[in-house]
Each structure stands twice: as C-alpha cells, then as structure tokens.
C-alpha cells in the first residue's frame, strides 16, 4: 500500500481511539453536593456506590445545615442540598433556589446521649437531673438541627435553664461529636449515625449511651432538594434518583437512620 493510504489508516485509527477514549468523559458528570455534618460517613459511602453505579462523581462539602443554607442563600455553587431538617430545604424552595417538587425526605435521624466514660449513666433524665458532670456538649441549636433537638429534649426534661452554664455548643454536630469523643465534655448529644459509624470504623462503642425517646423531640426529618444550579446537570438528577433507590436506602438504614418507604425490612 502506498504512503498516502498508510497515513489515512493511521489517522483513522487515531481518531477512532480518541473518540472511544472521550466517551467516558462525555458520560461521566460531576455534581456538587452540600451535606449536613451528621450524614458525613453515609454520604461518602453513597458517593462511592453512586460512582460505581453511574460513573458520575459527586463532590461533597460538609457543614452544619444552617451554615450550608446561609452559603446557598448567598450563591454558593452547590447543586444538591442534603439537609438535616425540613425547614431549611423548605426555605430554599420558597426563596427560589430549588427546583420545584424535588424536595423529599431521605432519612429520619435519631438523637443519642453519650459519654466517653464507661458506666456513667443508664437512665438519662435521672443523670441529667443529678447534675454530676461538668460539661455537656450539644450542637448549636441555631445552626444544627441535632442541636435544636437536644435543646428540645432538655426543655422537655425541664433541664434547659438549670444546665445553661454547663452547655458547650459545637458549631456543627461533627464538632459536638469531637468534644464528646475526646472526653473534653463529660457527656453530649450526638447523632445516632455517628455512634454507628464509630462502631463500624474501629469496633468501639461509647462508654455510656442513652437512646433518647422519640417523643421528647420533634422528628429529625432530613430532606434533600435539587438546587437551581443543578437543574440542567444530568449527574445531579441522577444523584437525586440514586438517593431514592433501594440500594441507597439500604445503605442509609445501615447507618442507623429510619428510611421512609424502604422495601426491605422496615425499621
């Protein structure tokens, strides 16, 4: 074959190779997700599963729900918002930052009172009333829904005012967990999912823990919403769909959340 035909064959092969190599890039999208601090570990696992299932990448940013909401209100480039309450997603909806009808509950959280030390308490209310501790950590009720829930519990037990001097506020539930886990506060209110993660991570449970009865606080309905920034992003829509899938719901339930409409064994 002459030189010209050889050149054409080479160029065709090169073009075909580039086209094939470019295909994944055409299909693999990226979505920016704002995640409430309590959902950190679950979000990471979901992201890995999401990438395996769809090839899309999710970039996660963590913070307290209130902090993330403030950022979104001021134009932060998130495309999906995973809050720890339903109030902020509702506000995002009403201020026009969200895609209508995309808001849904992806998990229901539970509050846990824990201590680093063993055998500190079995009966939470009695222990709180006895007051035999120096400091109690909660998340800031103004910015973190789990902190608000903790405040509701303390108010229901009549201990909110009496304990004011002993309350240490973490700026997110993640910092609150850090205060308790390092023993810097004697006790604290954390998210149940954080205790589950700790157990999964290094096989240890907190020294003492008290499952707070659900009637003492408003249900922590964690809602997700597609933000207007992500309205045209196929990866963002895919992420929302993925969150609703049985696959994702099983993972979420595995972290200690209650999941609405889970098709496998109900919690």
């Amino acid at each position: 074959m002459n030189h010209r035909m050889q050149c054409w064959r080479g160029h065709t092969l090169l073009a075909a190779f580039l086209l094939i190599a470019a295909l994944p890039a055409v299909h693999a999208g990226e979505v920016s997700v704002a995640v409430a601090a309590n959902f950190t570990e679950a979000a990471r696992e979901l992201t890995a599963r999401f990438a395996a299932a769809t090839g899309h990448r999710a970039r996660l940013s963590f913070g307290s729900t209130g902090q993330l909401y403030a950022q979104i209100s001021n134009g932060a480039p998130y495309e999906v918002f995973l809050a720890a309450d339903s109030e902020r997603p509702r506000k995002v909806d009403s201020t026009g930052h969200a895609v209508r009808g995309s808001r849904f509950t992806y998990a229901v959280g539970a509050l846990l009172m824990v201590s680093d030390k063993e055998g500190m308490f079995d009966d939470g209310p009695a222990f709180l009333e006895a007051g035999d501790f120096q400091r109690i950590a909660i998340a800031n009720p103004d910015t973190a829904p789990y902190g608000l829930a903790a405040q509701q519990v303390l108010e229901a037990l009549g201990m909110w005012q009496p304990l004011q001097r002993k309350i240490v506020r973490g700026n997110s539930i993640a910092q609150t967990y850090q205060f308790v886990a390092t023993g810097n506060t004697d006790i604290g209110f954390i998210a149940q999912s954080q205790a589950v993660s700790r157990n999964a991570r290094n096989g240890t449970a907190f020294g003492s823990s008290w499952q707070v009865p659900a009637e003492l606080y408003d249900p922590i309905e964690q809602q997700a919403v597609l933000l207007t920034r992500g309205a045209d992003n196929a990866a963002a829509a895919a992420f929302i769909d993925f969150l609703k899938s049985d696959d994702a719901r099983t993972i979420i339930a595995g972290f200690g959340y209650s999941v609405p409409y889970l098709n496998t064994a109900q919690r």
């Binding site: 902090q67 400091r135 950590a137 910015t143 506020r169 973490g170 023993g183 810097n184």
Partner: protein, 225 residues
C-alpha cells in the same frame, strides 16, 4: 438597634489580660533573645515565632488535645483539682497568650536590640546594677517597642477566631468572644447584628492603629533631640 454587649466586654477582658500577661512574660524573654549568645537562641526564637505561620485552627486543635483530659497539661490541671481548661475563660487566656506571643515578643526584642551595648556599658561604669540599668536605661529607650508590643498583642487577641472556635465552646459570657459572635450572626443570617459588631470592630482597630502611629511618631521625635 440593641447591641449585645456581652461579647464586647468579654473580648476586652480577654485581650487586656492576655496583653498584661504577655508583657510580663515577654519582656524577660525578649531581653534574653536580644542579649543571649547561646547556641539554641535561634531555636527558641523560632518556637516563639511559630504562631505567626501556623494556621490558628492547628494551634486550637493541638491545644484542645494538650489541655483536654487525655493530654499532658489536662492531666496536670485535673490533678490540681482545676478540671480541664478547654471551654473556660482560663483556657482561652492560655491559648491567647500562646497565639499572640510573637506579636509582643518580637517588637520588644527589636527595641531591646536597637538600644545597643553602649548605653548599658555606660550605665555599668556609673555603678548601676543590671536591674537598675534595665529599668532606668533600657525601658525608657525601648518605650516605642513596649507600646507597639502592647497594642499589637491586644489587637491580635481581639481578632482571634480559629483558636477560639476550636477550644471555646461558644459559651455566652465565658468564651463567646466578638469574633465568634459575629460568625454566629452571619451563620444565622442575622446580618444587622453582624454589621454592627463588625463595623465597631473595624472602627476600634483603626483607632488603635492611628493612636499607635501618632504616639510612636511623637516618641521618636522627642527622642531625636
């Protein structure tokens, strides 16, 4: 608009006490750094200057570990019956002293170095003891340095945020200083309060610096007689 004064008082108290402590601790340290010929002098100077380059969150994080119940200092404070320092005003004081140290020690060191050897030698020939020399000769000559050190130490502590966020615990009346209060107001979208506090802080900072430069200018002129 009502202003929440508690963080303001708390911040002034913290910055004032920190500056006082740093002047007491920093003066001998700066004097030693200015005069010593020990082989480890520069190592000590580097340690003192560390807070200049370390992110405040790093300082706060390690202080949280050190001062906490599982850290060496925390164990000491607990055995003394003082509990642990994080989440207390005392803990913030300790953190601020460490965090603002280079801002006090370095101006003092520079001022002491610029005094030079001559005045000290002359004082010695006039039978002044080292202590007498220090207070009668060095301090007056280093006056601009003391002023700079005090003002910088104070202003730097007022602006402290990362460290307080790590070990403060945001307790109203105890660790909720101005910078944290402003942060809280912004996070909860209470921009009015944030504006009031921030504008006040900027105005204060400007006045402080203006005073510093004016007084320093006057002192320099009066010395150059």
């Amino acid at each position: 608009m009502s202003l929440d004064w508690q963080p303001v008082y708390l911040t002034i108290k913290l910055a004032g006490l920190t500056t006082l402590l740093l002047l007491l601790i920093g003066t001998p340290l700066a004097w030693w750094l200015a005069r010593s010929t020990a082989w480890y002098k520069q190592a000590v100077a580097s340690v003192v200057a560390l807070p200049l380059v370390l992110p405040p969150t790093v300082i706060g994080f390690y202080l949280l570990l050190l001062l906490g119940p599982n850290g060496p200092v925390g164990k000491i404070t607990q055995s003394l019956g003082m509990g642990v320092l994080p989440f207390t005003f005392g803990g913030l004081l300790v953190a601020s002293v460490f965090y603002s140290m280079p801002f006090v020690v370095q101006p003092l060191q520079n001022a002491f170095e610029s005094v030079g050897k001559r005045p000290l030698e002359v004082a010695a020939t006039l039978r002044a003891s080292p202590l007498d020399t220090f207070f009668s000769v060095v301090v007056p000559l280093a006056r601009p340095g003391f002023l700079t050190a005090a003002v910088l130490g104070f202003a730097h502590t007022v602006g402290e945020f990362g460290v307080v966020l790590m070990i403060g615990g945001n307790i109203p009346g105890e660790t909720r200083v101005l910078s944290v209060a402003i942060y809280d107001h912004v996070e909860t979208l209470d921009y009015t309060q944030a504006h009031i506090l921030s504008a006040g802080l900027i105005g204060f900072a400007f006045l402080v610096l203006l005073t510093l430069y004016i007084v320093n200018g006057k002192l320099n002129r009066s010395d150059a007689l």
